[in-house]
Symmetry: C2
Subunit: 237 residues, 2 copies
C-alpha cells in the first residue's frame, strides 16, 4: 500500500487522478487547501475519513503530514511473461537507493526502454520516493520484479535478448561495443560491480572510460550515458 | 563554515584528513567510537571542546548529531582568472538541488572537465550534501562562483571558449553538433530552460532527443549524456 502525506503530494495525486483507496484527514485540521483536497476526493468518489492526528502520524511515519494522508493502490509489477516485445530493456542488479531507482526508471523510459527489471530482494521497491524521482515515467514504463536476476537473465537470453553489462572492469567500452537487438542492459548497484552475480550468463561487459584515476559515475548517470549511446546508435541505423 | 555532524561523517572527514577547524563534543557523551574521533582529532591537532548538548543542537540544526559536531573550513571557490587552461568546462545556470549539483560535479570531473562554474544566487552552494553527492570529485575539480552567469559567459567567449547550451528546444541535437575546443557546456536548472537568461550570448543550443511525448531527463543525467558525448568525440579525435 502506497502512503502519501502532506498537502502538495496528495493534491497532485488527486489532480493526476491516481488510484487512491482512502483519504485520512486529521480531526480538527482545516483551511482552504485541505478543503480543496476533501472536495477533490469526494468528486472522485474516494472515501474520506476524519481520524485522530496520532493515527495519521503512525501511518505517515512522521508528524509532518499537514493533517492529510492518502492511501493509494500498491505499485503494480509486471512479470517477464507479461512483457510486450521491445528492442531494449534495463535490468538492475541491486540498486538500493530509491532516488537512483527513480532516476533510472525515468532515464530508461526517455531512452526508449520497454521495461525495467528489478530483483525482489536487496533492492529498492517502487515506493513514493521512487515514483517522485521517476517524474511520471512510472506510469508508462512496466517494472518487472523477479525473484532471481540470474534466472531472469537466462530467460531473457532464451527469448533472444543479447546481454550487455555495465562494469568498470569491462573488456569493451560502451561506445565501441556492437549493440544487437533486442538488448538487455544490466546495471549494478551503487559502487558494486555485478560481474560476480551475473557471471554465469554470457554477457558483454562494457566500461565507461572516465578521466582521472579516482573518477566514477553515479549509477543513474552511468545508466544515462550507456542507454543514450544505445539510442544514438539505434537512431543512426 | 561547513558543519559536519554525526559519528560517521565526522570520522570519515578525520580519516580523509579534511581541514577541520574545531571539534565539539557534547558534555556527558561517550563511547568507543566517540573516543576514536577525539583521538583522531587530537592526533591531527584539531582543537576539541566539550560543550552543552544544546550548543551542538544549534550548530548542527538538528539533535541527531550523536554528540559530535565538526566545523570545517568553508569550501574554497576559484575565480575565472585563477582557472588553468582546459578543453571543456561546465557552466550551471541555477541548479538548486544539492544532490544534482554534487552529481554534476562528479560527472563533470569524470568526463574530463576543467571546472564547474556556478552562480552565487538562486543556486545551491557547495555544502556538505553537495560534497557527499560529488563523491570526492570536489577535492579535485575547481568550482568557480560568479556574480553573473551572463557576464561569465561573455568573459569565457572572449577567452576563446565556444558556448554549447543544453535545452530541450535546441535547434541541433547533442550528438550532431560539432564541438569546438575549448568548450563551455551550459546546463540549466531543474526543469527550467536557460535560453532566456543566456540569450544574448551566441550559443549553440542542443537538445537530447528522448522517446515518447512526456519523457525528460534529470539534469545530472542529462549532463552525463552530453558531457560523455563530448568526451567520446574528443577521444575519436
Amino acid at each position: 500500500m502506497a502512503i502519501l502525506s502532506g498537502i502538495h503530494p496528495v493534491v497532485e495525486a488527486l489532480r493526476a487522478k491516481r488510484a487512491l483507496e482512502r483519504l485520512l484527514v486529521a480531526q480538527g485540521a482545516g483551511g482552504p487547501r485541505l478543503q480543496e483536497i476533501i472536495d477533490l476526493a469526494r468528486r472522485a468518489a474516494i472515501p474520506v475519513r476524519f481520524e485522530p492526528r496520532a493515527a495519521l502520524d503512525r501511518l505517515a511515519g512522521t508528524s509532518a503530514h499537514q493533517g492529510v494522508v492518502a492511501m493509494g493502490a500498491a505499485q503494480k509489477y509486471t512479470d517477464l511473461d507479461g512483457l510486450a516485445p521491445c528492442e531494449m530493456l534495463v535490468v538492475l542488479d541491486g540498486v538500493e537507493d530509491p532516488h537512483n531507482l527513480g532516476a533510472i526508471i525515468r532515464t530508461a523510459h526517455a531512452a526508449g526502454a520497454g521495461a525495467v527489471v528489478i530483483p525482489e530482494r536487496r533492492a529498492a521497491g517502487v515506493t513514493d520516493v521512487v515514483a517522485k524521482a521517476a517524474a511520471g515515467a512510472i506510469e508508462h514504463l512496466p517494472v518487472v520484479r523477479v525473484t532471481n536476476i540470474n534466472r531472469a537473465l537466462e530467460e531473457l537470453k532464451q527469448r533472444g535478448f543479447w546481454i550487455y553489462g555495465l562494469d568498470e572492469r569491462g573488456a569493451e567500452t560502451y561506445d565501441q561495443v556492437e549493440y544487437a537487438s533486442p538488448a538487455a542492459v544490466v546495471l549494478g548497484g551503487e559502487g558494486k560491480a555485478c560481474t560476480s552475480r551475473c557471471g554465469s550468463i554470457a554477457t558483454r561487459w562494457c566500461a565507461i572510460p572516465v578521466a582521472g584515476p579516482i573518477s566514477s559515475l553515479n549509477v543513474s548517470v552511468a545508466a544515462g550515458v550507456m542507454l543514450f549511446e544505445w539510442r544514438r546508435r539505434r537512431s543512426k541505423g
